[in-house]
Symmetry: C2
Subunit: 266 residues, 2 copies
């Protein structure tokens, strides 16, 4: 039996780097599909391209217009293949209108010196932290087990926009690059925490760097991922937020996004 | 008399969103032009487009191939103009080959609630910190006054990849969005600090979020900008680094990049 995530990111390869996909209601957000599932669908498609080089290193996706539920045409193009990396651009179209654009870098991971400077947030073991549900209208979140250490959705207004949580697919599913791409967008808009309430907000552009090797993903399996996210600066109708996804002591991915929001002053 | 930075980012608008530019030797890096000046040239061009909406909010540029010294064709396209923001894609071509791709979000800055969570690094006043030169072969750096508080180029091997420095154009020049785009890439590869030596390294993809308002840029004028940058994870031939640019207590821009490097294991 296939996992609902795999159903949601399924693509049908056409010729010339075009992929067809259909949005899946299980990953709906308040308006249209969850941005993370769209990013994951792109990664899934690029990985299947016959001319792909290595694995994903970086993905930027721009949410130019709301994606409607239904079919989408993902048009991918290999701009350049170098010795160890490959540059892609893509668009997502619905009924002939571009709703998303983006670019990706794939590449070969080779042996090198390594170290991690980012600091993993402290968190008690996942089994000691309560799993919570999001409201019904955030459908995609039902496909994730969410155990918030700090900064849960619906918490009181806070001077700090940080959320730290244990996160994994529900039902469990071995981690791969598409699921990392999706989890990187699983942090609700930080402005909700600062105001202790919802307000209109949405990701404009999302950039994710994939640090995990295939071997690290295999080691991670379907264990809980520790995610953390915090905003940088809010103002003038926008803010940036950055996140990290950890598997054990391994920094699996880092991600950054610019978000628009609208409060009573806007 | 025009500033050398303005000479370097000059574009000649053609029809259909195409701009011609010529690289400027004053902003050369070790191989071809400094990535920051290429990013600044793109911002400068988009700002001049007759159909531009508002100012720059986000820029992602992918360095697919080395840019050669000489002429370049910047092809820009407005993908979608919404009520308050506008999505762009672009390519840079040299002799018919794509050397860079990218996308930008422009938009209207409107009144909203505001706050900054990022923490400005502590630094003594710029006049108390020595200005340093980079080696001759890093031409672009001669156009910046650089006063390192920590993490200077050529420092001994360090367990921390952080550089914090006072930075400004040399000669002085009022800060604008193109110069922010350039300064966001003014942090040399963090791996040099960890090893206390140069090694082959280069930015693959760079994303900058522009937080500053036009009024904040005007207040900043040509005062020193406080910049700070640190890596997240090094490994498998790549690492990410993130930076902040501060003007007084104002977070002017945040920026993130993925960098390749090659050490003796690679």
């Amino acid at each position: 039996m296939s996992h609902v995530f795999d159903e949601a990111i399924t693509v049908q390869a056409q010729s010339n780097g075009v992929f067809h996909a259909v949005t899946h209601d299980a990953y709906n957000n308040m308006v249209g599909p969850f941005g993370g599932i769209t990013a994951a669908t792109v990664v899934n498609a690029l990985q299947q391209h016959p001319d792909v080089l290595g694995g994903p290193l970086a993905l930027t996706i721009n949410y130019a217009a709301p994606v409607a539920n239904g079919t989408l045409d993902l048009r991918t193009s290999i701009v350049r293949t170098n010795r160890t990396n490959q540059h892609w651009t893509f668009t997502i179209e619905q009924e002939g209108e571009v709703v998303s654009t983006g670019n990706a870098v794939f590449g070969v991971r080779r042996e090198s010196w390594s170290d991690t400077e980012a600091v993993k947030p402290s968190a008690p073991p996942p089994e000691t932290v309560a799993a919570v549900d999001f409201p019904e209208f955030i459908a995609w979140a039902r496909n994730y087990e969410k155990r918030f250490v700090v900064g849960g959705l619906g918490d009181d207004k806070s001077p700090d926009s940080t959320s730290t949580l244990w996160l994994r697919d529900l039902p469990e599913r071995p981690l791969d690059y598409p699921s990392l791409a999706s989890m990187a967008d699983a942090f609700f808009p930080r402005v909700f925490l600062r105001h202790g309430t919802y307000m209109p907000a949405g990701t404009i552009t999302l950039t994710t760097y994939f640090h995990a090797t295939p071997a690290e993903l295999a080691t991670q399996g379907s264990d809980h991922v520790l995610g953390t996210a915090q905003a940088g600066r809010f103002g003038n109708g926008h803010f940036d937020q950055s996140s990290q996804l950890w598997g054990g002591d391994v920094l699996l991915a880092t991600s950054h996004q610019l978000v628009y929001f609208k409060d009573l002053q806007g």
